[in-house]
């Protein structure tokens, strides 16, 4: 504790903290990374501090996200209110807070949920098959033939004439004897029809019918875009990520969905092209394959903190 008052220790911590904040920004250049390596090598105390910083990050990475977030991000009564009003009043706060909608409560209350990297399938009461991709939360109300996609991605195959309606925040889709894939991101949602035809009712705008091979993306601002995709291309339901000439940045953003922890890459790598079919259950292997086929190198600071840099930049 007393070392924290030592001005030299404070200065070192400040320097290391600035490095960490730069790395997390995802904007560190290859040059920055070289400078960091030089800083670490310059003094054993630097390296020692850096190791501690890594340990610190790992402590946060190894706790389950939803539980840790709910516990550590609980509302904090001020010291003053605890002393003045006492504990009985102060401790009531979290209960009330849990009723609020703005925090990811809906996610951990969800009926079905998958963790990062997990995929699972369930058979619903009417015989329909629901598949959940990585980091997905779904509420199921089969008595009302209704599902709610809270976050993540699902595939739904409805076998009966009775349609199932799926609410995805930006609208809802009614699926009769058809098969769809539905993906909900922070500010957009994508509906792809794998079989048959469905009816989409956006929260803003007119209802429309989608058919086999159609892909509709809706955005939070009310806009949307219609396209086509190839329903025969293998995808996450087959446990693979299949791409053809895709920019590396876009590819890695996809891989990151399946991988706990931080995955970053030097900005210069963004537009390298990737082609291939990759197994989603081993993202470490995907990164190895990239390193083998592209001029990139994987720097793993820990299992949860991986950076891709250009090969010639690697130390």
């Amino acid at each position: 504790m007393n070392r924290a008052n030592n001005p030299e220790a404070r200065q070192l911590a400040r320097t290391a903290a600035a490095w960490l904040a730069l790395l997390d920004s995802g904007r560190a250049s290859a040059e920055d990374l070289q400078r960091l390596d030089r800083w670490r090598a310059a003094d054993p105390r630097h390296e020692q501090l850096w190791q501690r910083a890594e340990g610190l990050r790992q402590r946060f990475q190894t706790v389950p996200q939803a539980l840790a977030m709910a516990s550590l991000d609980r509302p904090q009564a001020s010291r003053r209110s605890v002393l003045k009003r006492g504990l009985a009043l102060a401790v009531l706060v979290p209960g009330g807070w849990l009723l609020s909608q703005q925090l990811p409560l809906a996610v951990w209350r969800a009926d079905l949920r998958t963790a990062v990297g997990e995929r699972r399938g369930v058979r619903l009461a009417d015989g329909s098959v629901l598949q959940l991709n990585t980091a997905t939360a779904v509420n199921v109300a089969m008595a009302e033939h209704r599902l709610t996609l809270i976050e993540g991605e699902i595939a739904l195959s409805v076998s009966r004439a009775q349609a199932i309606e799926v609410d995805f925040g930006l609208g809802r889709v009614s699926t009769g004897q058809a098969q769809i894939c539905l993906r909900r991101d922070a500010d957009s949602c994508r509906i792809s029809v794998l079989h048959g035809a469905v009816q989409v009712t956006p929260a803003q705008g007119m209802a429309l019918a989608l058919h086999y091979g159609d892909q509709l993306t809706l955005y939070a601002d009310g806009s949307g875009s219609m396209g086509r995709f190839d329903p025969h291309m293998p995808d996450w339901r087959d446990g693979v990520l299949s791409v053809n000439n895709q920019p590396l940045g876009q590819f890695l953003r996809e891989v990151a969905r399946y991988r706990p922890g931080i995955l970053r890459w030097a900005p210069g790598l963004e537009s390298l092209k990737v082609t291939g079919t990759f197994q989603l259950n081993d993202t470490d292997r995907i990164l190895e394959l990239l390193a083998a086929s592209l001029p990139v190198k994987v720097q793993a600071r820990s299992r949860y903190w991986v950076t891709l840099v250009a090969q010639h930049d690697a130390a």
């Binding site: 400040r14 605890v82 102060a90």
Partner: protein, 169 residues
């Protein structure tokens, strides 16, 4: 040396005799129950015992006891509120995803350690840091949620890292 210790024990004894009831009832009013109040008052005296050099200079025993007692009360509250939030979150997890009974307690201990590590950070800074570390949010997303610039988020992150690194020294 032994003389100083004897003096300390004697002083502590007097302190305990003269002020324990008073401290316990002060804590009782804030905690709402006698058992926790008794525990915390006991802890307060133990803390005071652990720092004898201060005791020797004690001019205002009640003010001093209250300073220590308040600190313990605030820590007690933090642990309680963390436990409370944690248990509620556990209760709302689907059973299949809930950790085993043994894991629950290990996890609570880990979370308490992290909570202490973050203690003292400004609420916005703490939040930005948690979003980054636990949810893996980028600075742009954090900036959007907090309604601040990305530059500010980066500054928050640096502050939080510095705080945690120093707390671990």
């Amino acid at each position: 040396m032994s003389e100083a210790v004897a003096l300390t024990e004697q002083t502590l004894h007097g302190l305990y005799r003269d002020h324990r009831n008073w401290l316990e009832s002060w804590l009782h009013r804030r905690l709402g129950n006698r058992w926790d109040a008794a525990d915390l008052s006991q802890d307060t005296f133990l803390r005071v015992l652990a720092s004898p050099q201060v005791l020797e200079e004690l001019r205002e025993p009640r003010a001093y006891l209250l300073t220590v007692g308040k600190r313990l009360l605030v820590n007690f509250y933090k642990r309680r509120s963390l436990e409370h939030a944690y248990l509620e979150a556990l209760a709302s997890l689907p059973e299949a995803l809930a950790p085993s009974a043994e894991q629950r307690w290990l996890l609570l201990e880990t979370l308490q350690a992290l909570d202490e590590l973050l203690d003292g950070l400004a609420p916005q800074v703490r939040r930005a840091f948690l979003w980054s570390q636990l949810e893996g949010l980028g600075y742009a997303q954090i900036a959007g949620r907090l309604q601040v610039s990305e530059r500010t988020v980066k500054r928050y992150m640096a502050q939080a890292y510095e705080h945690c690194l120093l707390a671990e020294l």
